[in-house]
Amino acid sequence: MQYLLRRFGSSAVVLFGVTMITYGLVHLTPGDPARTVLAERQGQQPSEADVQAFRAEEGLDEPLPLQYLHWIGDVLQGDLGRSYYGDGAVLDLLIAYLPNTIELAGASILVAVAVAIPAGVVSAVYRGTWIDYVSQVIALLGVSMPNFWLGYLLIIGGALRLGIFPVYGAGTVAHLVLPAVTLGTGMAAVLTRLVRSSLLETLEEPYVDAARARGLPERALVVAHALRTAMLPVVTMIGLQLGYVLGGAVVVEVVFQRPGLGMLLVDAVFARDFPVIQGVTLLVGTCFVIVNLGTDLAYQRLDPRVSLAGGGT
């Protein structure tokens, strides 16, 4: 219980920090945001009166800490502000773009797990044979592959040459295949290595030796005894990798022109649309904090030792 409280407490502190960074970041901008945005909008140098009016309207004329308080107050009421470019409320934009990103993230995690668990188990069971080496080399390549290049390779092969999959856009399952494989590959590689090493470690445990001594066949040993324990770090890693998935989604969405959070963010960054940048950053940061918390709690459920330790990280 004490562990739970502490864990929730530290998540709350981090979340507070996330909002501060999110708000503070856009103020790193060189020059005056009001002028930049108005110049962009009007296509010419804005008049002094326009600049003043914009500042008052967006609350940019207040001191920074006060601005932050206003902003956080609005955020708590579900108001993330409006896009500078008349695309409506930021919250609506997030709601419109989020499903595509969730779809992509979910599908790529599925791809990664579906590849990594069998590959990792086979690699561990046949440790030191050519199967193991091949799987390890592929995993190493997967870790080292930039996902934007992989995306274009798949587009060239799967869409342009074979014509099986649509190249750009989103909406159907066919649209999802190439992006999910692109994004899932790196994660699959990391997870394969982890499943392999984790299973190898577990197979050395005394209780597995005991089962082996009872005469259990190696296959049953792996499936019934070792795999469950070996999955513990894998669960944590899937949670940790969500950050990578969200980060990778930015690039993959740009490659495949999928209208998701990543594309929204990149467009907003280039347009200096601060409320949208803040909205996406806040959403991503918050998701990540919640997933980390969830991962820790799941880990605790799966592994009773964590709660006995009382503290833990």
């Binding site: 790193l28 290049w149 790196g186 290595r193 982890l194 990578y244 980060g247 990778g248 960054v269 990540f288």
Partner: protein
């Protein structure tokens, strides 16, 4: 010193180096050797390459647009008639230079923060570690994207953005080393004899953290190359016509159908560089930490964010 004494000193030095357990372990580790060879080859290419290539990386030859690979242009030419092979070679300098710089800045910030947090302790430690937690709450590339975008697209800002979001792991490693080393008897003894803090750090703490930090940096390097190329690909780093690999890929994607070498040449170069640093990092880790035999598990977290 006479020539023969110099020679024998040199021989002794070599002997000692070559039989040092870490070096021996490195030489026996196939992935360290392979990674070392790849990284050295790329470094040589980056340093020497530009003196050897017959073409200029940025001069346009519009009469030679989008030529397929041939003897004169082994990797073809791009949409402005520039030799792709030449640009890839110049790109090695740029891409690897950026990655190296980012890693060094990250390492420096991380070591300083880690030393301060571990050594000063108290609320300073608490505050610094909360900053680390918060930075780790964002996927690195997303934060770097926002920072680089807000500062404005340029190489300097790219380096700055990647460095500012990525020093946290170094700080954690150094901090925990400091906490551990501080408790050892010889450090306490050294403090009792009146050694200053700085002396304790220099003599006892830094040598102890050097190993883990170097391993971390090598493992980090591949990820930094990927992140830098990725942000440049998005348009936030090197700007055209700079022959940066990510930037080249970004412009090449408009010619996927007729000139796939425009994305494949820089793509392959990136894979090669990242693969080399990852192999070297894995090898170094295994050589410096022989207890962690199977151990992808712990350091795997260090990759890819």
């Amino acid at each position: 010193m006479s020539a023969s004494r110099l020679r024998s000193a040199h021989r002794a030095f070599r002997q000692e180096c070559l039989t040092h357990p870490t070096i021996l372990a490195l030489c026996r580790n196939p992935s360290a050797v392979a990674g070392g060879v790849v990284v050295t080859a790329l470094a040589v290419l980056a340093i020497v390459g530009p003196f050897v290539t017959p073409y200029d990386p940025t001069t346009q030859h519009l009469e030679n647009q989008l030529q397929a690979p041939s003897l004169a242009h082994p990797l073809g030419t791009d949409q402005l008639g520039r030799d792709v092979a030449t640009r890839v070679v110049y790109g090695a300098r740029l891409t690897l230079g950026i990655a190296l710089l980012v890693t060094v800045v990250r390492l420096t910030i991380g070591v300083v923060v880690g030393l301060v947090a571990g050594y000063v302790g108290g609320w300073v430690d608490e505050a610094l570690m909360r900053v680390v937690d918060v930075l780790l709450a964002f996927p690195g590339i997303v934060l770097a994207l926002v920072v680089a975008g807000i500062l404005g697209p340029s190489l300097t800002n790219l380096v700055l953005a990647l460095a500012v979001v990525g020093w946290t792991r170094y700080a954690r490693v150094v901090r925990s080393s400091v906490l551990e080393v501080r408790e050892r008897p010889f450090v306490a003894a050294s403090r009792l004899t009146g050694a200053s803090r700085w002396r304790v750090v220099r003599r006892h703490v830094l040598p102890n953290v050097a190993g883990p930090v170097v391993v971390l940096a090598t493992l980090d390097l591949g990820g930094v190359i990927l992140a830098a190329a990725g942000l440049s690909f998005l348009g936030l780093g090197a700007q055209p016509p700079a022959p940066e690999w990510g930037t080249m890929l970004a412009t090449g994607r408009h010619h996927l159908r007729e000139a796939s070498w425009l994305v494949n040449a820089p793509g392959l170069a990136i894979v090669f560089a990242v693969l080399g640093s990852n192999l070297l990092g894995d090898g170094l880790r295994d050589a410096l930490d022989p207890t962690d035999r199977t151990g992808d598990a712990r350091t795997e977290v260090a990759r890819r964010d």
